[in-house]
Symmetry: C2
Subunit: 188 residues, 2 copies
Amino acid sequence: MNNREIILESALILFASFGYDATGVQEICDQSGVTKPTLYHYFRSKRGLMEALLAENYSPYIKRLKDACEYKRDLPQNIVEILRCTFRFADSNLLFYKLQFSMRNAPARGEAYDIIKPWIKAQHEPVFTLFSEAAKDNGNMRGRAQAYTTTLLGMANAYIQQTVEEDTALNDDLAYQARQQFMYGIFS
Amino acid sequence: MNNREIILESALILFASFGYDATGVQEICDQSGVTKPTLYHYFRSKRGLMEALLAENYSPYIKRLKDACEYKRDLPQNIVEILRCTFRFADSNLLFYKLQFSMRNAPARGEAYDIIKPWIKAQHEPVFTLFSEAAKDNGNMRGRAQAYTTTLLGMANAYIQQTVEEDTALNDDLAYQARQQFMYGIFS
DNA sequence: AAATCACTATACCGTACGGTATATTGGGGT
DNA sequence: ACCCCAATATACCGTACGGTATAGTGATTT
């Protein structure tokens, strides 16, 4: 593992544990066994380091999410696939999941939120598009794509949080269960 | 309004906008038209200021929540009352609601989370006790008080977030709707 | 009138922060 | 052998932070 990867890993641990603001660049360097110029060689700034961390961990998920959102006139199938790939994303790197979750809910005008904003959009967009497409086949859904998107992603987060706290499995069965509950929410 | 109250109000605005770490004591003083010794006269430290802010805003809610959790062998009634007083809490001071929400989801070893920890417990405890009591009357619920507590409070947050984003009303009707969905989750 | 008290202003402290100027190392291409 | 360039170390910079020592001020108590 080269220094760049070591720094990214240390940064993930520290940012996730103490938060972006409260973690100093020097701490990350100490944890990595590296000096500051090395860190600043690979990442232009503290912010640049965080951006790289988000890019490396988010990119694969967003790619899979886009696939899961491709509409083939079978919305329930799309939904279960969205939930599955989101659950796997959380399951594959829980530490990163916790970090991004805290940043999402950070104050809107803070730097942490500013950094993660484009990724929130990247996640929302394909799901929103899916619901907009599906609304063309089902009039009942018209004009509610925004609400559905928020609810579905919010529900996924709720399920993930729950399994973290109760230390239960985050498997595909749970995705089907979540889908059922979500669909109930839509048609009630 | 005396200086103490002015400081608390300024602190709420700044903490909610930029976060605890990113807000400097000097900024709070400037916003309040006050110098630092004045702030430190009323509040021992930056942390003490935040603690006072939480205490003043949380206390009334926790008191009402405890009442709402008094079990009289009518769990659905308790649930709707929990939701109502939680919705009102959010509705009465949205800025504070946003602040406490971001702190709840902050990294576990950060100072912000440390400060809010006792209030999270104060909220959880009465609800947990309620579900534990109710489980004595309904065997199906046994051993799940923790899960019900997390889910109910999480669902309340989800509803609140949704109304914030869509700018819709956070009224009692919504409490009944949320209760229905929660009960569906329990018995499915 | 003297003393006391809560309260507030000026000016400052030590520290830790994000970031950098400069110099050195060491392997790859010519 | 030479240069180049990515990568790393030492030592430092200016700034902003949380917090405080000191010295009032002005109303209330005695």
